[in-house]
Point group: D2
């Protein structure tokens, strides 16, 4: 029997992605969407400025947009809520929802670093989900909260995981070139970015530097421990691309490694924590390695694995850092947001946590 | 009395910049332009697809495009030639010109690493010009060749010089976001770059990694020695910006330095090798530091110092690399090509080498 | 049994579209691709710079690129060739192919106006195909040539047909905003179009003005007669859009018509010449009318009907011209080129002409 | 002695242009800038997100942003206010200012069609300024209001004036391709326009259709009469260009005219109403005609005449409309807004109306 799910903040770019991924989902039944007051009561098709490349699913066109009201959500017997709300709103709403027994899968950046809140990039750390038992106990909640990582971090850590497993990462230097959708539907005015780039995204570098170490951390008995074996330094930039975050990654390993060895580690992804679980949104290959000199490219490669694969290219030795350097690309509103959110929910179902 | 100068390859983007900078130059008289066969004999205004933001200087509109013919150049009593030719053509022509007594200031990438060829970023290493005496002796030439560095390297090394002087750089990690003009007028088809970026520029990373160490090297008695105190690792990317190369720079210093100290070093640029020489093209401030969180930006800041200043922003401690990280921007066809070429020629005149 | 087909000029943008549409076609078996000499002998996947939004079909990846050789095509027992060659090459090759018995469906602009060559936009003038009997007789060919119209004209005439049928068009004024793909893969350098538009496309206006009248013309017993009841004046412009030609259309009718009447005529498309034929590539609705004030838009609407529908919006009375004005959008490399080419071939099969 | 002037709404894109044009103006002393409440009290340099291609004038950097307060403006003994406010705000403020004796030169769209308010494109209809005597009498004001036309209309009517004078225009069909700056600094989100265009600009077509006829109208004794000899039908579109509105113009004249005749009329502009007045902002040539097939282009030509000239190209016979068709380009925030505003103020000074 399908779980009843809701998307909170369904008209923004991440909300639209959630709606797009959930409308025909085999395990979930999307029965509720909420959005800001000025469109409450409208049909979804009239409330949203749809920018997804595929047409809006028939099923959601007629859904009536609801206000953000915890009691309504409970009355509607929702099992899982997907949160695409601004941080400020999420901070208040999420604990209330968890208290009332809901499973909250959230893309908002609040609480991501709390040790009893799992920050999940499922292939990397699906095992962290078990911390929700502690979370419930600690906080006296019937439900729980699971967090989707920052978009850039989700893409980056997928590539770091097999390298760390096999070669022991010491330091990571990453310079990102991030897409416009990462700032939301109306976040970047065209007058500011045409023939230009913007070398700053508020809070982004800190998120990459800290969340990476939590995602690659370990689950102790009552909390998640940050990985203290490596550190990350980031510089984040906005470029004129619609979707797809790119990044140049330099990894210090303590030794120069053979390029083929690295590619093998990435492609095999031995310790993929969700392998064989049969989660519908899991990509066949979490990491795809391209060998052409000029790939991946955002417009051509962002939809690999339905937007859930990260594509790596230009793997080369780095003799300066004693390690390896490469270029990575992922779809920021799918792999880096809604897609990973849906994958987390699938994991939760599979683990019988809802 | 003004020196008679020629621009070889005057219709490309760098050639146009040379023409633009030389047409009203106080020390130089632009009397000759050459271009490819199919436009030889035409007036410059008809031969060129002008894309510079300022109108074409009156004076050059009526110049007749000449073929690339060494004898003609000699007959015309040219003192200095500015070379904006493809590497393959430059490789043959430049030694011939130098043999016949011409001063060759070249933007082409051939011979840049030869120890008796000065690779000049004047504020950084104007003293390397003295190697031309060795060059003449070695090669039996009456003239000589001086090289403009790779565009990205010219911008990067201007910022590295004061940091290396004051803090001893150990390693540099640089990820560039380079403009379309760097690939030439027709180098990047619009279908390949719209809503996209290209994570590869042939040969660029190697140039940044090696040329940086030559520019910051020292002039021994008969050759220029590479600086072996630091190393550079680079990742280079093309983005949809018309002019202006941007780069995220991470510098390992062996210690975390205070941001204000770094800014002071950059702004003061104590060991500027051309300070006080009165070279017309030298910018008042080789490095401008911006303190806003989101600057510099290519469209807004590339013309600082008439395109000859490098603009640095987002200077911040890097505790991971034990050093500092920052963002730098320079105009690639001015500071990174024609402007630095003209500045080199001014240095040559000042030093009475022509 | 499937017809054996070949794509000539398979690596360009229109060639890629043909390959994409034919690889899994129910009636056609794509067995041969040709391209320019420098890639002959390579596998298609290595020969092409694929820019289509969908992955390259598995089936064609391994096809070996052949040279353009009429005898080889005959030997391979090809039934239909799809031509995406430059006009100059097509001019020589197409008559040879037709002479040797092949059915030639061509996107090249040569011969489009010859009275015994059908210029087909199937919903509008599928009946013109019958002129091929005259063509064969006239020219002594075993095969024949059918032409795909100019891209802008194909889109425009689809919208003009129902209006002309119902309201008698007198004059049409059209200003187009055409996409980059219309100039081919490398036709528009990015330096020329970023923050810009180009108000000229060679030969385009003439094609729109004349081809429209042939497509809406009538098949006399031995030739196609131009429609002399209306005239078209065009102004064509290139804008920074990847795919999708847009156009502002002003139609003088001799009377102001009711907007709803016009919309009804467009949506019903009463005299659709291929209705009910079951051609696989025919869109369910050749014309889709949007009522929002700001639609259609190229990025959001170009894939309607798998790229085969034309989307019309902003239908409004034009009291100045005594008629109607509207905005129309079509996918230029599908509806305006390869898609219409495949639809023509389907018509030819249906009519047992191959 | 210089007139004291203020810019109301000085931080928007048109406000910035006003500031840029007025800072070093020979006749005006910019002593006051106002902006929205959240930046009142800040220095201008901190209050504005400057996007003009030239650096901010020194002089204005230190101006303190004032609130919009009619009494303050009077106290400051301002002679002329330049209004770059939203229509809703302007509707209230402008009559108050005029009542209190100020000369109001306004870019806001309210009141543009009232018969005692001059709507000025000075080269075309400087004589309409005399209606301000009627306006004062009618309304009992000490000051008066003069309006800058809609941006597209200002550019269009400059080209229509000499054609109407010489050839009697009957109908005009115009399709515009308008720049992003026309929607204000943050008006068009980048996610909506990249790889796209938007075929709708609210209210724009109506403005072009009606304002054109007022600008080319005549001053009767107590009002301005619309020109009823010709009509205009417009279709307006937003494209991805930073600055510069382009338009395809089709003009029905009742006869086909010789291209050279048309070019002569445009270049001579015989009845230029401000010729010889010595207004500092008047361009030497109001209309520049280019003969290359592919010019003008926004990025290359928008700054002609410091942004005050309109550039026309592709003049060709239109046998369908019995007239002429051409392409026109003008700088929308200079010729189409602030530049024309300053030119109007210069006219007012010259006529001793302030």
């Amino acid at each position: 029997m399908k779980r009843r799910v809701a998307v909170l903040g369904a008209t923004g770019i991440v909300g639209q992605r959630f709606v797009s991924l959930l409308a025909d989902h085999p395990w979930f039944d999307l029965v509720m969407v909420t959005a800001s007051e000025k469109v409450v009561g409208k049909k979804y098709t009239e409330a949203v400025k749809w920018v997804i490349e595929k047409p809006m699913p028939r099923k959601v066109e007629e859904l009536t947009v609801e206000p953000l009201d915890v009691n309504r959500i409970v009355e509607e017997k929702i099992d899982i809520v997907f949160v695409a709300l601004p941080k400020e709103v999420a901070t208040t709403v999420e604990p209330e929802l968890a208290r009332k027994g809901l499973v909250v899968v959230s893309n908002a950046s609040n609480m991501r670093l709390e040790p009893d809140i799992p920050l999940l990039n499922p292939e990397v750390n699906a095992d962290h989900i078990d911390v929700v038992e502690v979370q419930r106990r600690n906080r006296g909640w019937d439900g729980f909260i699971a967090k989707v990582p920052n978009c850039t971090t989700a893409i980056l850590t997928l590539t770091l995981k097999p390298l760390h497993d096999e070669f022991d990462i010491k330091r990571v230097v990453v310079a990102s070139m991030q897409s416009l959708s990462g700032a939301g539907l109306t976040g970047v005015p065209s007058m500011f970015i045409l023939d230009n780039l913007i070398p700053f995204i508020e809070g982004e570098e800190e998120k990459v530097e800290t969340e990476s170490r939590k995602i690659l951390g370990t689950l102790d008995k009552d909390k998640i421990l940050m990985n203290d074996k490596f550190k990350v330094t980031a510089s984040c930039h906005r470029v004129m691309v619609l979707e797809g975050h790119s990044m140049a990654v330099f990894v210090e390993l303590g030794r120069v490694v053979d390029v083929e060895e690295v590619i093998k580690a990435l492609e095999e992804f031995k310790d993929n924590k969700i392998r064989g679980m049969g989660l519908p949104t899991a990509p066949e290959k979490p990491i795809i390695v391209r060998r052409e000199p000029d790939r991946p490219q955002p417009r051509l490669d962002r939809m690999e694995g339905n937007g859930m694969s990260v594509v790596v290219g230009r793997v080369r030795e780095d003799k300066v850092l004693n390690g390896v350097k490469y270029f990575a690309l992922g779809h920021n509103t799918i792999r880096g947001a809604a897609g990973t959110g849906v994958l987390i929910a699938e994991l939760i179902v599979k683990k019988n946590l809802v």
